[in-house]
């Protein structure tokens, strides 16, 4: 039994799950900021990204050290690689939260449309749920739950399309259109968070099966982007 390697793998995985919790806090923060159009909360989410980046860099360093010192193979190697990939996905989710917070600040002087904000909050909550499922499926090596993320992602994609079509209706109102176009980008950010959660799910399947395969192939998806 390689006690030291196992200890390093356990520490890596714990660090990854902690990074996941931190990212979830950021998502929840940005959903609240969006719901209440709270500019101060937006600033907090933006500042909080430094914490997420630091967690990512620490994990990357830990992975580098484990590869160099322990040369893991087989399932241990897959776990280390999956953590490296998935940590980067989490870091990107953090970046999407920052973009949403900045866009919310930028459009705070404009009138908001309740229906669109509610759709965006709904999207955000689905995304938070997806990230949560991706983390728990990773911890439990639950491929079925990980695959289920694809279905949840379709709901987020549909919501993204709905926001787009809603904003199209503002075409004759310049101010509403300006606000709406920023919200399209917010919806797009949430849509990317959903994709990142699916990507983490794919890494879980990789750990378990040893084969990497995308759950869906976006490049051959016949449906329109929006």
């Amino acid at each position: 039994m390689r006690v030291e390697l196992q200890a390093e793998l356990d520490a890596l995985e714990a660090g990854f799950q902690e990074a996941g919790e931190i990212v979830l806090r950021s998502i929840r923060g940005v959903i609240d900021a969006l719901r209440t159009q709270d500019v101060e909360l937006c600033d907090e989410v933006i500042a909080f990204d430094d914490e997420i980046d630091a967690r990512y860099l620490a994990l990357e360093k830990q992975v580098e050290m484990t590869l160099a010192r322990q040369t893991p193979v087989a399932s241990d190697l897959r776990l280390v690689l999956a953590i490296l990939h998935s940590a980067l996905h989490l870091e990107r989710v953090g970046d999407q939260c920052v973009t949403i917070a900045k866009l919310t600040k930028l459009s705070s002087h404009l009138d908001t449309k309740r229906t669109v904000v509610e759709s965006l909050v709904d999207m955000g909550e689905r995304c938070a749920e997806m990230v949560k499922v991706s983390l728990s499926a990773f911890a439990a090596r639950d491929v079925q739950a990980a695959r289920g993320l694809h279905q949840l992602d379709e709901l987020v994609d549909n919501a993204n399309r709905q926001v787009f079509h809603e904003v199209l209706g503002y075409v004759h109102d310049a101010e509403a259109l300006e606000w709406g176009m920023r919200q399209i980008t917010v919806a797009r950010c949430f849509e990317r968070i959903g994709d990142n959660a699916v990507d983490i799910g794919e890494q879980t399947a990789f750990i378990v099966t040893g084969e990497f395969a995308e759950f869906t192939d976006a490049s051959h998806d016949p449906r329109p982007l929006v």
Binding site: M1, R2, T71, P72, V73, A74, S75, L77, E211
Partner: protein
Amino acid sequence: MTQMETQPHIDSSRIAEITRGLDRSEIEGREKVFSVTDLAVSYSGKVALQDVSLDVHRNTITAFIGPSGCGKSTFIRCFNRMNDLIPGAEVEGRVLYHGDDLYARDVDPVEIRRRIGMVFQKPNPFPKSIYDNIAFGPRVLGIKGSMDDRVEQALRQAALWDEVKSRLKDNALGLSGGQQQRLCIARALAVEPDVILMDEPASALDPISTTRIEDLMHDLKRDYTIVIVTHNMQQAARVADMTAFFSVLVDEEGAARRGVLVEYDATTKIFTTPSDKRTEDYVTGRFG
């Protein structure tokens, strides 16, 4: 230094092999050098190894790994009938070499050992000059041609020529451990073998000498087929195209222990996604 000189040299014909390793179908597409079926080896009636079937393919490096007592050294000795020299050793099953039965009555074990050379764990040069160590085999076998050329070629192939060309008459025992091992490889090459068997060839060497032996193995497989037994799993991962994992089977009383072949596959598969849990446990260090 110009920019061209700083560019690493990559052999374009080997890019696929270097970047993703050879896969099993590519290796199995090569000519079979050995074909082993239902092999069992016993010493004085005690079974040391049983139920081994596998093929070794031309111009590949095949590694045998496994814990102590798994029979990997016993197995490699079946390929050049070294077990014949051990009293009480008995080999059952079939070992074909290029389609011919290696254990047929009319096969001369000395001729076998010329075509299937062996390098051992501990370098074992003769207490003679570097030159004579290489020349001995060809002389005994009556191989014709210029001996000087043959000695130089063997030493070049073993990546030793530049280090010893000015002192070929010096005693081989004055060489370092790593040099002695390369001399033993050169000695095996001098009789123009087809296969080189290596039983823990680097386990007594320092890391730099080990790297030189491993680099040498990569070079040699263009012309030879190499089979290696190693305790060092990372060495198997670095050098081998195919890897066989052997384990120890203990009977219910815990008295008899015998080696069995657990898994044989492309090295990349063995070290990334092995099929058998016992292999996974061994390569990840969870064995025992």
